[in-house]
Amino acid sequence: MLPPIVGVLFDGLAYGMLLFLLSVGQSVTLGMMNFINLAHCSFAMLGGYITVALMNRYGVPFFDTLPCAFVVAALVSVAFERTLFRRLYRAGELDQVLLTIGIVFISVSIAAYVFGTDQQPLQLPGYLRSSITFMGIRFAIYRLVLLGLALIITLALVLGIEYTRFGARVRAAVDNERMARGLGINVDRTFAITFALGSGLAGLGGALAIEIVGLDPSFAFTYLVYVLIVVSVGGLGSISGSFAAAIVLGISDVAGKYYIPQLGAFLIYLVMISLLMWRPLGLLGRR
């Protein structure tokens, strides 16, 4: 028999994976392109609403809605990137923060207008709602699926940035934009695709998150804080850093809520501040 703490650790791990899926796109855009995109969770929220709308109004199966969430979030984000964000790549952090927070405000209002302010119901297929019991501890299938997906995405991203031609272009464009242009790399398009990839992953994360954390218009604000914590603690641009930070924060949040519930969200903020003060560039930050 396993002690009950294993169950807590598993739930924390699954929650951490969720935070990772939500924030990995932010890690890419913030770390690679130095753009502080506070509207990241608005794209996640968009993905969530796409999934809910497709499932509840058109009866599309859950797994078929996930690619749609990814694609729609990616396309919408590219539209924003081309028209607004692109002009601010070189601006100070204050301008970037203000513009993107404005977009968060707008997205929250639109979500409230279209879908109302209630929690959105989501009915997963039966096999995802079951759980398996292993040595006295119940493991929910859905959380296992989350874990698996997060591992696959981490691996794909790390390998993609390290070993593919596109990954090399992105790194070149970030390190020295003028030189990259001189070598004939289409920097604008590279950035646009990177941005779309990051926001698409956010949309996917949002769609996967509804089952565990629910979905209402305040999603864009609530999880923004968590995403920023994961990204800044993990280290800008470091995907494995975000992965580690998401696990640390997920487990400390869940464990804190199990064992000292009166502290509420206090613990996760405390963990964040201490980690940041210890390593201001993040756990695995390089610059």
Partner: protein, 328 residues
Amino acid sequence: MALAEKVTSPRLFVQAQTRWRPAEIVFWLATLLPYVLFPNYLSLASQIAIAGLFALSLDLILGYAGIVSLGHAAFFGVGAYTAGLLSKYGWGEPLTGLAAAALAAGIVGYATSFVICRFRHLALIMLTLGFGLLLAELANTLGWLTGGMDGLQGIHTWKLLGIFRFDLYGRAAYAYALAVLFVLFLFARRLIHSPFGLSLRGIRENFVRMPAIGAPSRAHIRAIYTIAAALAGIAGALLAQTTETVSLDSLGFERSAEVVVMLVLGGTGRLYGGLVGAIVYMIARDQFSGIVPQYWYFWIGILLVAVVMFLPNGILGGLAKLSRWSRP
């Protein structure tokens, strides 16, 4: 700038900066107009004065020292709760309440400034955000003291100077808030145009180089952060005393974001930016909320995007540009 060419010595430069311009005198005279023109809107006017003071305190650190803070409401909230609790437990004298609030917020600001002064850029934004969230969560947890979600009830503010009663129309409240704002504005104006204020602007432009010419960056940032925290605390206390209630959202992230919006709308690093921003923002909110309250955030969002895209230096920056164009 034409001014810089004419002025030769640093002393003359500082003197030229501190001279009162006619527009400033007109502005302060105009703040008395609500008594004559809009006697029914005096409580809104007092809220504007309070928001203006809060935005002014943020301008000291954001506009002059270059510290982008997403958690400035923490000090506003500390001040509000200090004044509120003092009054609830039997001491409702307004002016000493303000002093106590300034002291409490200043102490919290001084304590956090040791961390703040060691970081720049994203880590700094995240730390200010984190401190703000931490304090809001703390106030929520200490429900027995702060009243939690229900807010702090049972505040009673005594008569101002023992003579003027705070009434429903806000006549005394506006005079009180305006007077406090004006006095603290004079203080901030003096501070900004002192050598200390000049070295702050130097730190904003280049944090690393300032110590080389004899201005200790970290000590200066600690000082201005503490001052800004105390001013924000006074603004919070003013709100607590004039409305006789304090709620959790006086500490929340929304209020921190709101004050940044006001300041940027008016223009950062201009002293009057926060005041103009507060006037425009609060009046717009009052008007728009009257039509469809729940979609007010939509309009703030549009406003923010528009300001960043078209008015990079805020309303005052835009006006300054216009007046330069119109001159031959």
